[in-house]
Amino acid sequence: SQELEQSPQSLIVQEGKNLTINCTSSKTLYGLYWYKQKYGEGLIFLMMLQKGGEEKSHEKITAKLDEKKQQSSLHITASQPSHAGIYLCGADEGGNTPLVFGKGTRLSVIA
């Protein structure tokens, strides 16, 4: 079955700094989804990537999909305290199979 490995597991950055979170799949990626979870809350959908080379942005968050490397990266520019939380990537194996999730990256932003 598909496995997703996220790196780093945790990250502490100073407010205003840029950061990148990676998600690497053990199998071909058909759809890659990024979610954010605030501590003790549910998951909020950020972005969906479906094509190799696709790049999407929402405010200061940009996600890219590298189909050949079976990898996606999430980049946050000029981090703010509101960016703190757990970022999870999810992927399906095509054919509407349920999403498999990575273990998450815990992001802390300090002043």
């Binding site: 998951l43 959908f45 999870l88 273990k103 998450g104």
Partner: protein, 115 residues
């Protein structure tokens, strides 16, 4: 528009007790899912449903049962609760077609402790 509603938010069960976690969505999504989240372990799929009357096992179905009698509701039943079922449970729904799914909407979770 409520999205996905889960009840209860918190529950403490004694070993051997049973309970039902409720999940309802009002978006007319065809697919629904139950995941559990253990610390540092990401989300593991318990059961899912592609439509009313159709359910299928996920990665960790043992100790759980589900039913899907309507499009809106997808309850998760725990029989004979065990400490290993202490976790945070998330229900999600999605609209999926042959072209793929369009992202999941998650409920806010149920934090269950079995003592």
């Amino acid at each position: 528009n409520a999205g996905v509603t889960q009840t209860p938010k918190f529950r403490i069960l004694k070993i051997g007790q049973s309970m039902t976690l409720q999940c309802a969505q009002d978006m007319n999504h065809n697919y629904m899912y139950w995941y559990r989240q253990d610390p540092g372990m990401g989300l593991k799929l318990i059961y899912y449903s592609v439509g009313a009357g159709i359910t299928d096992k996920g990665e960790v179905p043992n100790g759980y049962n589900v039913s899907r009698s309507t499009t809106e509701d997808f309850p998760l039943r725990l029989e004979l609760a065990a400490p290993s079922q202490t976790s945070v449970y998330f229900c999600a729904s999605s609209y999926s077609t042959r072209g793929g799914n369009y992202g999941y909407t998650f409920g806010s979770g149920t934090r269950l402790t079995v003592v």
